[in-house]
Symmetry: C2
Subunit: 606 residues, 2 copies
């Protein structure tokens, strides 16, 4: 299994750690310390050795920030964790506060009434966050102080896990579609054009893409933890633990980059600074990099990581790989759905059992490298929790008359998948059917959209909501996120959401996942991945148009569709989609599952 | 008539003026001078005494910027004026360049090779524009210099028109719906809450709204050219030419504001600066104000004009007024359309004749104070020019088999209107009908939208385009702009467009005007004004929703509708809209026009 279902550990006694930390703080002359859930790479998932927040507080959520003052301390979490956090931390020590309602600056203003010094680790914060905080603390007589070493690392001691050393694996040309040499050459052309001497790459997925390598340093994202410097001419330099590099990786990387130990990064930046170079650096890079480079002759250009856009525009090999991955994954999901349909009505299936079965089906493909995130497996009211993660404590039976929402994905060498299906166990209510159909109308509204070149993701988001809006309903998340190619399942810059400012371009892969959540009752989400494609120009049309090819292949529960609520074109899309699922996935199945699929994808009558 | 149809004057000989200007420039030690189409109030329409650009260059377009160097000169215009400008200016003197393709900074870099000083009048530019330009000119060794007096004003001489002196008219409570006393009190509460000592109001429509006054200083917008300072407590001060204020206006204004001559503004700002006040000023105010206040003890808060949002949220009296204005205006438009339908097929109507007839119908209401903009009256290929203004030179007969697009509006005491109808003369082609129906589907998509509170205008724009996109078509303007209440027909902050970042609120009036333009052939636009309203919560809905009430009442040409292309709900909307037009407008008409309206609004069969 690539995931666990353990309950978050409860009631951590962290008093000794806090006491030790406060001693160090006193020695360092700081009155408060920030402890974010973050690592040096701004990863979504942290390696165990970077779980400082959990070690210090007991809180194991995926986002949060602790602040420890001399006598008081607080933990700031978002709405997902307001129930979990107080169970995990010693609330006698940590006041648990919810963002964005509570403000860190206000808390600090009260905790440090007479002013003081707030320490932070510049490796764990982006410059914009700290600029913002500094602005808010102005007038409260609180100064910020970057610490040369994280105090937690000093006291964590021997129990601290070692840094991950997942081996570096070359990513074959067959899947990457473009050699690392060509990618590097194009990157260097960009740097020259922009008049920059070098770029510092700080995001592991950019580095994985650029050098055509993959790794296993963090859960679910096959990246290598590393930094890189690419000069506008000459050889790149990759800062990575040599222990990760076997002979194959060494010969793959030899022509591409000089391999250096991460510890040498400091000296290398000092040299760049002394040489007065013009250095490109992402606004999302750790503040540490900015501090190392500034104040000398070097010029820092704060500009988007230049790998991000080319990585998002999948090439022909990556598209071919994604189609193959989706065919394989679709067959696994269909076998799971058929099993669920046979077993769940008997009453013996629970959320954890379902998640395990789904992973087992994927593992049977023999191609599964990882799951692309912890499966969201929510029955009944648990389905209404958007970021639900099932544990032994929350595990629920899939009851009759309930909806079951399962959001999951796989990492295969040829592509990353992400699919959500909502199915009914037994007989749905009319309300469930109507709301499912509204979500489906939104899904189809996005799937069938044609749009002119230059359209931003934000311009498609309303199509996912119109039918829900007409009924006085909505959902409180974006409609879609970008997806990598055997890389992160959340990959920018494109999105379909209110904030989706990136222009959509052919080759981008993005999720289409409208939903509806009735608190305490049920959740609905229908998610396929779609590929942005050049659309054939309709007869008489005078604009260059783009559209979507739906990549994900698995039936949408027909029992939840109110056919009369669909327009003719919507129904035609659903039937055509189901016909395609049947044609592509059917031959991958045994007779029992194939028969199930035939029924599940039969045209809908009205 | 409130508009003329004269062709723009051609081939101006402005050599003497340019020579005089260059002499002054030499004396003032400046190497180039900016001459924008702008006045001190950042008006859309300028009073004649502010038409410096036209006087200097001969160019009479509504937007443009000349730059005069010692030996060379250029005129920058946008796509609307690339054909007109070269005919109007001496191209031996002015190089005509198109923005945004051509860059002012680049032109200056070439014209002032050795560096130099660029003069400008700080009354005619917003600070952001000049900040941007200064940034671009950095590195070109060109300095900016604010001139104490506009050099053109020194040489324009006696032929310069006097500043407008339209009388100030109190706007009755019946139409304003809220007293100026109450508006001022609320504004002062806002200032106190925001910790500001005073606000400087520089937009004439904000001042007209706040003090409940109207005027006639510029065409089509019933504003008074004035500035105001409103302190957080105490009496406001209105800087306005005393010649505009008759006894009635004097007694209306007496309890509201001290009346001061515009010339005293300078001293008043110096006093605020010396007193170290915290002053709120719009980012759109002339740079002159910022320069007057800065560098002393005063603190300038660059923040939106605080009248803009309350002005945009129409109150009950303004809404009632708008409905009455639209009923009156709808009757005038219907009588025009009926006349057009009788007369145009005979072949004797041209664009100017149609525009005159429409204005005459509005004048017959006895309530017409002004038209709200120059009528766009475009037959056939002229209809495809989005900002078309008919002149004797471009005037075209309304030919058989052609589309005729007419976009017009009226200023009544109780409201401002803006309506576009596209009608066919004789028999349309199938293509015209299909594209008209796509535009209509977009119009209905906006008119029928429900959306949750907090929705920005940008989120509704895609509904206006979806049907066109599906056919590979689009239109290159926003879907809707805000409209004032017997004020400017273009009023912010709300809009329905890709850039519509303002959250829509109940009481806002906005246009709904998707279109389609086939260059050299025909143009289609269907425009109604809509009012944002609180929508009844649909059964089972859990969000607070908003929707639109369509204010404009006039038939949409049924002969151009392909009924089979409409969904059931779209057709139902069109029939219901037509039924409403018939019921409300029918009783306002004589028998002939009423019979025409009955036919024009009959339900559509398919």
């Amino acid at each position: 299994m690539f995931q666990t279902f353990d309950s978050p550990p409860a009631g951590a006694d962290t008093s000794e750690r806090i006491a030790g930390l406060r001693e160090l703080m006193a020695k360092a002359g700081i009155d408060a310390l920030l402890v974010p859930h973050a690592d040096e790479y701004m990863n979504e998932y942290l390696p165990p050795n970077a779980e400082r927040l959990a070690w210090l507080t007991g809180f194991t959520g995926s986002a949060g920030l602790a602040v420890v003052a001399r006598k008081t301390a607080a933990l700031f979490v978002d709405g997902r964790y307001v129930l979990q956090a107080p169970k995990q931390v010693d609330t006698g020590v940590f006041e648990v506060l919810q963002i964005p309602e509570a403000s860190l600056a206000d808390w600090l203003g009260k905790a440090l009434k007479a002013g003081g010094t707030l320490g932070f680790d510049p490796w764990l914060h982006a410059p914009s966050t700290m600029d913002e905080l500094a602005k808010e603390l102005k007038g409260k007589r609180i100064k910020l102080k970057a610490l040369p070493k994280n105090p937690i690392d000093r006291i964590w001691g021997r129990a601290r896990p070692a840094p991950p050393r997942g081996p570096v694996i070359p990513h074959p040309m067959k899947y990457a579609g473009k050699s690392a040499e060509d990618k590097l050459a194009e990157l260097q052309t960009t740097l020259k054009k922009d008049g920059q001497d070098a770029v510092i790459l700080t995001f592991p997925d950019s580095i994985a893409w650029l050098f055509n390598i993959r790794g296993s340093d963090v859960a679910h994202n096959p990246v290598v933890l590393a930094f890189a410097i690419v000069p506008s001419s000459g050889k790149a330099e990759l800062f990575v633990d040599a222990a990760k590099i076997g002979p194959e990786a060494r010969s793959h990387l030899a022509p591409l980059a000089k391999i250096s130990e991460p510890a040498s990064l400091d000296r290398r930046l000092a040299a760049l600074k002394a040489a007065g170079k013009c250095i490109r650096l992402s606004p999302g890079a750790a503040l540490w990099f900015y501090r190392k480079l500034k104040g000398g002759k070097a010029r820092i250009v704060r500009a988007t990581d230049p790998c991000i856009l080319p990585k998002a525009r999948k090439n022909a090999a990556e598209i071919k790989g994604s189609r193959a991955a989706h065919k394989r994954d679709g067959a696994a999901v269909v076998r799971f759905l058929a099993w669920l349909d046979r077993e769940a009505p008997k009453g013996g299936i629970d959320e954890i059992g379902a998640a395990k079965q789904l992973e087992a089906m994927r593992a049977e493909t023999q191609a599964l490298k990882e799951i692309s995130f912890d499966t969201i497996s929510g029955a009944g009211s648990n389905g209404a929790i958007v970021h639900y993660r099932v544990t032994t404590a929350t595990n629920r039976k899939l009851g009759s008359g309930e909806l079951f929402l399962v959001d999951s994905g796989a990492q295969y060498l040829d592509g990353t998948t992400d699919i959500t299906r909502t199915v009914v166990i037994g007989k749905p209510t009319r309300e469930m059917q109507e709301r499912f159909t509204m979500v489906l109308k939104g899904h189809i509204g996005v799937a069938t959209a044609l749009f002119p070149k230059g359209t931003r993701g934000a311009e498609l988001d309303p199509f996912a909501r119109r039918a829900l809006w007409a009924a006085g309903l909505d959902f409180d998340h974006g409609t879609g996120h970008g997806v990598g190619s055997y890389l992160s399942v959340h990959e920018g810059p494109q999105s379909i959401s209110k904030r989706g400012a990136t222009v959509l371009e052919p080759g981008m892969i993005i999720s289409n996942e409208p939903g509806y959540y009735k608190e305490g009752a049920y959740g609905i989400r229908i998610e396929n991945l779609v590929l942005v494609t050049e659309a054939a120009k309709p007869a008489g049309g005078d604009r260059d148009m783009l559209g979507f090819e739906t990549l994900t292949l698995a039936p949408i529960d027909r029992r939840l569709v109110v056919a009369e609520m669909l327009e003719g074109e919507e129904l035609a899309w659903l039937d055509a989609y189901h016909a395609r699922v049947r044609e592509v996935i059917g031959p991958e199945l045994g007779p029992t599952d194939r028969a199930w699929l035939e029924a599940a994808t039969a045209p809908i009558r009205r």
